[in-house]
Amino acid sequence: MTTRVEFFDRIRAEMRTARALFPATPMERPARPAETVEIVRRELSERWPATLERFRVEFERVGGVLHRAQTLADVPALIGGIARERGFERLVGWPPASLGADLERLLSAEGLAVEIMPAGEVSESARGDLRPRIARADLGLTGVDLAIAETGTLVLRSGPGRPRSTSLLPPCHVALFERSALLESLQQFGVFLEAWHGDGEGSGGAMINLITGPSRTADIELTLTRGVHGPKEVHAIFVEAGLRV
């Protein structure tokens, strides 16, 4: 088997005789991404209504459904509505710390039970038991880290209490977000990626998911069909007064 040393010797040997096709540089990177993030956030906080409107247009274009709630207290009725309309009974969700809201308590008033995902490390066997339950669930409730208006995209970082499967296995994904999550562009998102990396991404999980609408395919006669492997429906609930209140 080729070793690292052999492989890289080979690369360098080829590079010695290679000629550049033209002078080229990669993208310039923010020198202090964490500071740039703060500047972007401050600027965005002024114009969030326009950003939210742009997000709505793009999110709907890709097949998402945006709901607006005045306060967190309005959220259970929205989720209850989605669940009842479709006859959903089994709900799974992120724990309060990562969701920004204790929905278990709020949803019980709606007569809905949510199985809350563990907030930290669990045993191998508990992990094994949880998976089929998530796979059988009708609806998965999560928070988001960012919402990108330009593309109608939800950004979810995995981590303790933020399992990836909650937004993947159930046929319906419902995500809560507030104005601080709103970004205008992919380019701004690039700065956040640089900053997350810079502040030692060890604090987070091993995956960042960009979700732009429900799962889709056009593999049979180019007919658009939703819900191949991921959710058939994606709802985003914007909480105007903010989460964690």
Binding site: F7, G152, L168, G230
Partner: protein
């Protein structure tokens, strides 16, 4: 493609495709739709042209320091707890994956669509080793059940009708009387594959990009199979060509803005999945092991070779859709893993010039591919280089070389050309049908069997020129 299939000459494969009316129709509908979607996406994207220039630069800049970027990638993947493997050849890459499968006791592998694993013919090797590979992209799944090959890199099953898919599912999945509604068929595939995702030991993917600075492997899918394969099985193996590395996250957003627009006209594909090693402590899901296989397989030789620029390729498929040759013959006729204009270059890179002695001519050099390419790869330039190579190394047949050599000399000499026109008009007479030459001696027979070679005009442009110039008067 099987050896038997490749023994069929390209000319025959192309003829077969040209005679398939359904394929012709399907190709026309699909490629036209993709062209329209792409055009709309870029029309509404004023930044597009600037970003294409930028993306092209990033690719070239990365190749100029490839050792440094790949080195960083390796260090960072290892820092995340991943393992990196080095494959100089396709056989070595297969062996690496088989060893991982054997060591972890895997009996089933779920695969997310990946050209790199197609290129190394991984599925056959896994089967022989007793590991069942399951393709999970819906199009790839259909193709796998039918024991066929993909006809398009973005839409692998465009050559099949919904009726054929329904029949196939009914037979292979034992679901008799299945409706041919794509909605129903997709639901069936979801159920079948969901069960496999939850059972599989191994998730195998490619990589659309790998970010050196952060050690991140990036996967782009619309169905979500990329997420499933990287979150559910206990082992994840990503196989990537060395050219997929990019320096930083700032570069990544440039490519993300271009890739889906070029492929399907979307602003972003539904799922962009950034993988940074195995599951971390406290995470509920994700693999226990993460492996990255770096694949050379002829790529590194091209750093200093004539096909260097083709290493920029993002595998978006835009050049296939606009290519007048691909639109007629489809992916199968090319005979190798990578079809279309860029596929000819990839085939030459992987299998040598000899493998493209016919394919190098499967292009009208119209330049539509270079116009559509998100990183502006000059595909026609390299096709000409390949043709030259095929001629100079005498891979091309002798009559072909003689005729092309003579034509070349003729075109270089205007006076000779003037003399040749009336002679050609005389000689071509027995072979002209409706303004097109069919048949003839030397290479003319086979060459014109599936191509339209226009006859020399009654009056050539050169012969008309003095008159035209007089009419136009002094400028």
């Amino acid at each position: 493609m099987s050896e038997v299939e490749l023994q069929t000459p390209f000319r025959r494969r192309a003829e077969r495709a040209l005679g398939d009316t359904f394929l012709q129709q399907a190709l026309d509908i699909a490629t036209t739709k993709f062209i329209d979607l792409r055009r709309e996406a870029f029309d509404g994207f004023p930044d597009g042209e600037r970003l294409r220039d930028r993306a092209r630069q990033i690719k070239e800049a990365t190749l100029q320091s490839l050792d440094r970027h790949l080195g960083e990638l390796v260090d960072n993947v290892e820092r995340h707890g991943g393992q990196v493997h080095y494959a100089t050849t396709d056989a070595e890459a297969r062996q690496i994956v088989l060893d991982i499968a054997r060591r972890t006791g895997a009996i089933m592998a779920v695969k997310s669509k990946s050209m790199a694993t197609e290129e190394i013919h991984l599925n056959e090797a896994l089967e022989q080793a007793g590991v069942t590979p399951v393709e999970t992209d819906l199009g790839e799944y259909i193709i796998q059940l039918a024991h066929e090959r993909p006809s398009h890199i973005i839409a692998p099953a465009i050559h099949k009708t919904r009726g054929q898919v329904a029949e196939l599912f009914a037979r292979e999945l034992r679901r008799p009387g299945l409706s041919s509604d794509p909605e129903v068929l997709t639901k069936v595939a979801r159920e079948e594959l969901r069960e496999k995702f939850l059972r599989a030991d191994l998730g195998i993917t490619g990589a659309n990009f790998a970010v050196a600075d952060t050690g991140t492997v990036v996967l782009v899918t619309n169905e979500g199979n990329g997420r499933m394969a990287t979150s559910l099985p206990r082992v994840h193996v990503a196989v990537m060509g060395v050219e997929k590395v990019i320096p930083s996250m700032s570069d990544l957003t440039v490519f993300l803005a271009l890739l889906a627009r070029s492929a399907t006209g979307q602003k972003l594909s539904v799922y962009t999945t950034l993988v940074q090693g195995p599951r971390r402590p406290g995470e509920l899901d994700g693999p226990d092991e993460f492996h990255l296989v770096l694949l050379d397989n002829g790529r590194l030789r091209q750093l200093a070779g004539p096909l260097r620029e083709s290493l920029y390729c993002l595998r978006c498929g835009a050049c296939l859709n606009v290519c007048p040759v691909y639109r007629q013959i489809g992916g199968h006729a090319y005979g190798y893993t990578y079809p279309g204009p860029i596929g000819i270059l990839a085939t030459a890179m992987l299998n040598g010039s000899r493998s493209v002695k016919d394919l190098a001519h499967a292009s009208s050099l119209c330049g539509a591919c270079a116009d559509a390419c998100p990183v502006r790869i000059d595909i026609p330039r390299m096709l000409i280089e390949l043709r030259k190579d095929v001629a100079e190394t005498r891979i091309a047949s002798r009559p072909e070389r003689v005729v092309f050599g003579a034509s070349g000399r003729l075109l270089e000499r205007p006076r000779l050309y003037r003399w040749a026109a009336p002679i050609a008009r005389l000689l071509q007479r027995p072979f002209v049908r409706h303004g097109v030459i069919r048949g003839g001696p030397l290479v003319f027979g086979p060459w014109t069997a599936s191509r339209d070679l226009p006859a020399v005009a009654r009056r050539t442009f050169q012969e008309q020129w003095p008159e035209l110039e007089r009419e136009a008067g002094p400028s």
